[in-house]
C-alpha cells in the first residue's frame, strides 16, 4: 500500500520516457527530425542547467514542506504527508 504511491509515479514517468525515446529520431513521425526542430537560440546547455536548478529548488521545497507537514499535519492533510 505504502509503495503504490511512488510506484504509480514511476510507472507514469517510465511510460513518458518510452514514448519520447521510442519515437526518436523523429519529433513529428516521418515529417521532421528532432535535430531539425530544435531552436537555433545559442546556449541551450545553459537553459537546460537553469531548468534543472529551478526544478531542484522546487523539489527541495516540496520535501521541506512535506517533512513539515509530517511533523505538524493539518487536520485533513495527515494522510498526504504520511504517504510521501
Amino acid at each position: 500500500m505504502v509503495a503504490s504511491g511512488p510506484l504509480a509515479i514511476c510507472a507514469m514517468q517510465a511510460g513518458w520516457v518510452v514514448t519520447e525515446v521510442g519515437r526518436q529520431p523523429w519529433i513529428v513521425q516521418g515529417v521532421m527530425r528532432t535535430a531539425e526542430a530544435v531552436t537555433e537560440v545559442p546556449g541551450i546547455r545553459w537553459m537546460f542547467a537553469a531548468s534543472l536548478a529551478i526544478y531542484a529548488l522546487l523539489g527541495i521545497g516540496v520535501v521541506v514542506v512535506l517533512r513539515l507537514l509530517a511533523r505538524v499535519p493539518l487536520p485533513q492533510m495527515a494522510e498526504t504527508a504520511n504517504g510521501a
Binding site: 537560440v41 507537514l69 493539518l74
Partner: protein
C-alpha cells in the same frame, strides 16, 4: 469576414481578458512586497482570500493566446519564440515560482520563517512575470525585432529585445497589474464591509492610478520616438481608441474617488481594453512588426475554420464553467457578511 481576421480578434480579446483577470492576480502578489513591511493581519487575510480560489485559473487565457498563435499563425509564433525567448522564459520562471511559492506557503503553516521566505518568493515572482511579459510586448511594439516573414530571427538572441520601450512597458505592465488589483480589492473590501481596508485600497488605487495616467502619456512619447511604424498607425487609425482610453481612465479615477467601485472596474476594463485594441488597430494587418502580417503568417484556411469551430464549442463549455467558478468562490464571503 476572413477567418484570419476573426482569429486575430479572438487573440486580442483573450489577451485583454488575461490582462484584466490574470493581471489582477499578479497585482495582488505585487502588493505583497508592500505588505512585508507594514501590514495588519486583517489586510493580509483579505488579500489571501481574494487570491485564494481563482489564482491560477486565469492563466487559461495566456495558454489560449499561445495555442491560437501556434496553430493559427505558426511563422509569427516561431519568430516570437526565437526573438523573445529570454523575456518569455523569465516570465515563465516567474509564473512557476509564483504558483509554487503560493502553494508552499499555504502548507507550511506553523513555520513562520519558511512562510516568510515563500511569501517573499511569491511577491518577487508576481512582479517578475508581468514585468517580462510586458517587456516582451514592448519589444514587439517597438518594431525593431529582426524577424522575417517565414518566422526566422536574424538578430541578437540575448539583447535585441531589450530596448527603452521594452523596459518602459515592463514597468508599465507591473503598474497596470497593481492598479487593477487595488481597484478590485477596494471593491471586495467594501462587499465584506471592511470600511478601513476599503479606504486603504481606495487610496492605493488612486495613487497608482494617477501615476499610471502620467506614465501612459509618457508612453506615447516613447512610442513616437522608438516605434515610428506603430506611431504612424496610431496617428492614422487608432487615435480614437487612445482618446477612449484617456477618457475611461479619468472616469475610473473619478468613480474611485466617489467610491463607486463596480463602475470603476468597468472603467478600468474599458481603459485596458482600448489600449490593447489601439495597439492592435495601429499595427493591423501586421502581427509582428515590421514584416509579419496575418496574411503571410496564417495557417491554411481549413485549419483556421476548424480552429474557429472548436473555439466556439470550447467557449460554450469554458465560459459557463468559469462563471460558475467565480460565483462559487466569491459568494460565500459576501453572503456571510451581508
Amino acid at each position: 469576414m476572413a477567418p484570419e481576421v476573426i482569429l486575430l480578434l479572438i487573440v486580442w480579446l483573450a489577451l485583454a481578458l488575461y490582462v484584466l483577470l490574470g493581471g489582477a492576480d499578479f497585482g495582488a502578489g505585487i502588493w505583497e512586497v508592500n505588505l512585508a513591511f507594514q501590514t495588519s493581519e486583517k489586510e493580509r487575510l483579505l488579500l489571501h482570500r481574494a487570491l485564494g480560489p481563482v489564482w491560477e485559473a486565469n492563466h487559461v487565457w495566456l495558454i489560449f493566446v499561445l495555442v491560437v498563435l501556434f496553430n493559427g499563425f505558426p511563422p509569427a509564433f516561431a519568430a516570437l519564440s526565437r526573438a523573445l525567448w529570454l523575456p518569455l522564459s523569465l516570465a515563465l520562471v516567474g509564473i512557476v515560482f509564483r504558483g509554487a511559492a503560493f502553494a508552499f506557503r499555504v502548507y507550511s503553516v506553523g513555520a513562520t520563517r519558511q512562510q516568510l521566505a515563500w511569501g517573499v518568493a511569491f511577491a518577487v515572482a508576481s512582479t517578475m512575470a508581468p514585468f517580462f511579459l510586458g517587456a516582451a510586448a514592448g519589444a514587439m511594439a517597438s518594431g525593431n525585432l529582426a524577424v522575417t516573414p517565414d518566422g526566422r530571427f536574424t538578430g541578437d538572441y540575448l539583447f535585441d529585445w531589450l530596448s527603452p520601450l521594452a523596459i518602459f512597458t515592463g514597468f508599465f505592465t507591473v503598474g497596470v497589474c497593481a492598479y487593477l488589483a487595488a481597484v478590485y480589492l477596494a471593491r471586495e473590501a467594501t462587499i465584506e464591509k471592511e470600511r478601513d481596508l476599503a479606504e486603504l485600497w481606495r487610496q492605493r488605487a488612486l495613487a497608482t492610478g494617477i501615476w499610471m495616467g502620467v506614465l501612459s502619456v509618457s508612453g506615447l512619447v516613447f512610442l513616437a520616438i522608438e516605434s515610428p511604424l506603430l506611431w504612424h498607425g496610431f496617428q492614422k487609425r487608432a487615435w480614437p481608441l487612445v482618446i477612449v482610453s484617456l477618457v475611461t481612465g479619468f472616469a475610473s479615477l473619478e468613480m474611485l474617488r466617489r467610491r463607486h467601485y463596480t463602475t470603476a472596474i468597468c472603467g478600468v476594463a474599458a481603459t485596458v481594453g482600448s489600449v490593447l485594441a489601439g495597439w492592435g488597430v495601429a499595427q493591423y494587418p501586421a502581427l509582428v512588426l515590421p514584416s509579419i502580417t496575418i496574411y503571410q503568417a496564417k495557417a491554411p484556411e481549413p485549419v483556421l475554420w476548424a480552429m474557429l469551430g472548436s473555439i466556439l464549442i470550447g467557449t460554450l463549455i469554458l465560459v459557463p464553467s468559469l462563471v460558475w467558478l467565480f460565483v462559487l468562490f466569491k459568494r460565500p464571503y459576501a453572503k456571510k457578511q451581508s
